[in-house]
C-alpha cells in the first residue's frame, strides 16, 4: 500500500453514511422543519436591508408603541421604530455573535483537544488550562470583559468564545483519543507519514463530524448566553439592534406595550428552539455516541 492511499483514511462506514445523512434528516419531519426555519431566518438576516420593510433606526414620534397592525406587523417601539425591521436587524447581530463565538471557539477548542490527544506530554497542561477556563461561567466573563474594556459586541464575543473553547476541547480530545487507538494511525506512522499529515488528514478529519455535531448542539446555548449579556446591557449599545438588548429596552414599557419586549424574546426563542431541534436530530444521525 502506498502512502498516497493512506493519505486520508476517513473511516469507511462513516463515508458510506454521509450520503444518507441528508435523506435521513429530511425524513425526520421536525428536524426538516427546524432546518427550514433556520435557513429562512438566516436568509432574512443576511438580506436584512432588502427584507426589512422600514429603516430600523428611523424614529417616528407620532407613531409610538403601536400594537401589531397591517403596516407594522410587529408594531412599533417607544420611539416609533418598526419592530419587525429591528427584529430582522437584531437577528442579524444575534446570529453573527453566536456564529463568531461558535466558529472561533470551535477552532481553538478543536485544535487544543486534538493536540492534547496527539501529544501526551502536552495533554496534562492543555487540560489544566481547559479546567481553569471552565471555572468561569460565560456570563461572568462577559461582565468582567465589559467592566475592563467597556460594554459592547466585543465583550460578548470574547465571553462566547471562552464559553465554547473548554467544552469543545474536551469533546475533541475524547474523539481524538478514540481515533488514536485505530490501526490506521499506527500504519500511517509505520510508513513514515509526518506528524503534520497525521494530525491533519488522519486525526482531524476523523474527529470533525463529532466536533461539528457538538457545536451545532451548543449553538443554541451560545445564542442564549449572548442575548442574556445583551439583555444585561453588556453587549450592543443603542441604537444598534440586538435581540437581547431590545427585550431589555422593552421591559420599561412592559405594562403599556408588552409586545416591545415579548417579540424580540420570542424571536430568540424560535432561533434557539430550531437550533436545538436540528442539533438533536443531527446528533442522532451523525454521532449517536454524543448522547449522554
Amino acid at each position: 500500500m502506498s502512502v498516497e492511499a493512506l493519505a486520508s483514511p476517513v473511516v469507511a462506514e462513516e463515508r458510506a453514511g454521509r450520503s444518507g445523512v441528508l435523506r435521513r434528516l429530511v425524513r425526520d419531519r421536525i428536524a426538516a422543519a427546524a432546518a427550514l426555519v433556520l435557513v429562512l431566518i438566516a436568509l432574512a438576516a443576511i438580506f436584512a436591508p432588502i427584507v426589512a420593510p422600514y429603516d430600523p433606526y428611523l424614529t417616528d414620534l407620532t407613531n409610538v408603541m403601536q400594537p401589531p397592525s397591517a403596516e407594522h406587523w410587529f408594531g412599533t417601539d417607544n420611539t416609533g421604530r418598526d419592530i419587525l425591521s429591528r427584529v430582522i436587524y437584531g437577528t442579524r447581530n444575534t446570529l453573527m455573535l453566536g456564529l463568531i463565538g461558535v466558529v472561533i471557539g470551535g477552532l481553538l477548542g478543536g485544535v487544543l483537544g486534538i493536540l492534547a490527544a496527539y501529544y501526551p506530554r502536552a495533554d496534562g497542561w492543555i487540560m489544566r488550562v481547559v479546567d481553569i477556563m471552565l471555572a468561569f461561567p460565560a456570563i461572568l466573563i462577559g461582565l468582567a470583559v465589559a467592566a475592563v474594556a467597556g460594554a459592547g459586541l466585543g465583550a460578548v464575543v470574547i465571553a462566547l468564545v471562552v464559553a465554547t473553547v473548554p467544552d469543545v476541547a474536551r469533546v475533541a480530545r475524547g474523539a481524538a483519543v478514540g481515533v488514536m487507538g485505530q490501526e490506521f494511525m499506527e500504519a500511517g506512522r509505520a510508513v513514515g507519514v509526518s506528524d503534520r499529515t497525521l494530525i491533519w488528514r488522519y486525526l482531524t478529519l476523523n474527529c470533525i463530524s463529532t466536533i461539528f455535531v457538538f457545536l451545532t448542539l451548543r449553538f443554541g446555548q451560545i445564542i442564549l448566553i449572548g442575548s442574556a449579556l445583551g439583555f444585561l446591557g453588556m453587549g450592543a449599545q443603542p441604537p444598534t439592534a440586538e435581540l437581547g438588548m431590545m427585550a431589555a429596552q422593552g421591559r420599561d414599557f412592559l405594562f403599556m406595550a408588552p409586545h416591545i419586549a415579548t417579540i424580540p424574546s420570542c424571536a430568540i426563542f424560535v432561533i434557539v428552539l430550531a437550533a436545538n431541534l436540528l442539533g438533536d436530530a443531527l446528533r442522532d444521525v451523525l454521532d449517536p455516541r454524543l448522547q449522554q
Partner: protein, 312 residues
C-alpha cells in the same frame, strides 16, 4: 472519600488563582490614578511619586498581586467609588438574597424535573411522554428573561397575585411572596434539562436486573420506581446540576436584574454600568468563588450518592 475531595481542592486552586488574577486586573484598569486623586489636582510630581510609593503602586505587578491576595484574605476588597462603603460590607448584604434565590430555584426545579422525567420514562412512548419532552426542549430554548417577562406581565401586573420588584425580607420573615416569581423564573430554565436526563437515566435503570427482581418479589410499582429506579437515576442528575451551575449563576444575574432582587448579580451589573471597579471586582470574585464551591459540593454529593466512586 477524603482523598477525592483533597484532589478536587487541589484542582480548584489554580482556578481560584485565575479568578483572583482577573479581579486584580479589573482594579488595574481604574481610569483615574489613585495617587493623583489623593494628592489633588495641584500637587507636584514629587508628592504624587511619594504617595505612589506609600501605596505600593510603584512595585512590580507580581508583588502587587501578592499584596492584593493578602488583602482579599483579610476581607479587604476596597471601597466603592460610588457609595464609599466597604465593598465587603456591600457583598455581605447581597450574598444572602442571592443564595436564597438560587436555593429557591433549585427547590422548584429539582422536584419538578425529577417528577416530570420519571413520569415520561414510566409512560414511555405515550402522548404524556412526548408532551413532557416537547415542553423540556422548549424550556431549554427559552431565554431566562422571556419567562420573567411573562410572569411579571401576567402574574405580577395583570392578575396582581405576587410582588415582582425587590425583596421584602428574608423568607422566614414575610419575604416568601417576593421570592416566588424570581425563583420560578430561574428554576423554570433548569426543569427541562433535569427532566430530559432523568428520563434517560430512569429508562436505563428500569431495564436493570435488580428492578426485575424487585418487581418479581412483589413490590408495589411505586416503590420500585421511587426507591429502586429513581434513586439510582439520581447520580447522573446530580452531575448535571453541577454542570448547570454556570447556567444557574448566569440566570441568577439576569433574574436579579429583572426583579430588582438585591443580590450579588445585580450589584455586579450595577457596578459595571456605573464604572464602580472595586465593587464590580468584589462581586465578580464572589460569584466565581460561589461557582467553584457549587462544583466542589456536587463532587462531594456525588461520592456520597455513588459509593462506587470511592473505589476507583
Amino acid at each position: 472519600m477524603g482523598r477525592q475531595i483533597v484532589h478536587r481542592l487541589l484542582v480548584s486552586f489554580p482556578a481560584l488563582l485565575g479568578v483572583l488574577f482577573l479581579c486584580f486586573c479589573l482594579l488595574q484598569v481604574v481610569p483615574a490614578d489613585p495617587a493623583m486623586i489623593i494628592a489633588g489636582p495641584d500637587a507636584k510630581a514629587e508628592t504624587v511619586a511619594a504617595i505612589r510609593r506609600d501605596l505600593g503602586l510603584d512595585r512590580p505587578i507580581p508583588i502587587q498581586f501578592a499584596e492584593y491576595i493578602g488583602r482579599v484574605l483579610r476581607g479587604d476588597l476596597g471601597r466603592s467609588i460610588i457609595s464609599n462603603k466597604m465593598v465587603s460590607e456591600e457583598l455581605a448584604l447581597t450574598i444572602g438574597p442571592t443564595a436564597e434565590l438560587m436555593l429557591g430555584a433549585m427547590l422548584i426545579a429539582v422536584p419538578c424535573g425529577l417528577a416530570l422525567g420519571t413520569l415520561a420514562a414510566v409512560k414511555r412512548g405515550t402522548l404524556t411522554d412526548r408532551f413532557i419532552m416537547a415542553v423540556s426542549v422548549a424550556g431549554v430554548s427559552m431565554p431566562v428573561f422571556f419567562i420573567g417577562l411573562i410572569l411579571i406581565q401576567y402574574v405580577g401586573f395583570k392578575w396582581g397575585l405576587l410582588p415582582f420588584t425587590g425583596r421584602t425580607g428574608p423568607v422566614w420573615d414575610g419575604g416568601l411572596p417576593s421570592l416566588i416569581l424570581p425563583a420560578v423564573t430561574l428554576g423554570a430554565v433548569l426543569i427541562g434539562p433535569i427532566a430530559r436526563l432523568t428520563r434517560t437515566a430512569v429508562l436505563e435503570v428500569l431495564g436493570a436486573d435488580f428492578v426485575r427482581t424487585a418487581r418479581a418479589k412483589g413490590l408495589r410499582e411505586t416503590v420500585v420506581i421511587i426507591h429502586h429506579a429513581l434513586r439510582n437515576a439520581l447520580i447522573p442528575v446530580v452531575t448535571l446540576i453541577g454542570l448547570q451551575a454556570a447556567f444557574l449563576l448566569g440566570g441568577a444575574v439576569v433574574t436579579e436584574t429583572m426583579f430588582s432582587w438585591p443580590g450579588v448579580g445585580r450589584l455586579a451589573v450595577g457596578a459595571i454600568v456605573s464604572s464602580d471597579f472595586p465593587t464590580a471586582q468584589g462581586a465578580i470574585m464572589i460569584l466565581a468563588i460561589a461557582f467553584l464551591t457549587i462544583n466542589l459540593l456536587v463532587d462531594v454529593l456525588y461520592v456520597y450518592l455513588d459509593p462506587r466512586v470511592q473505589r476507583t
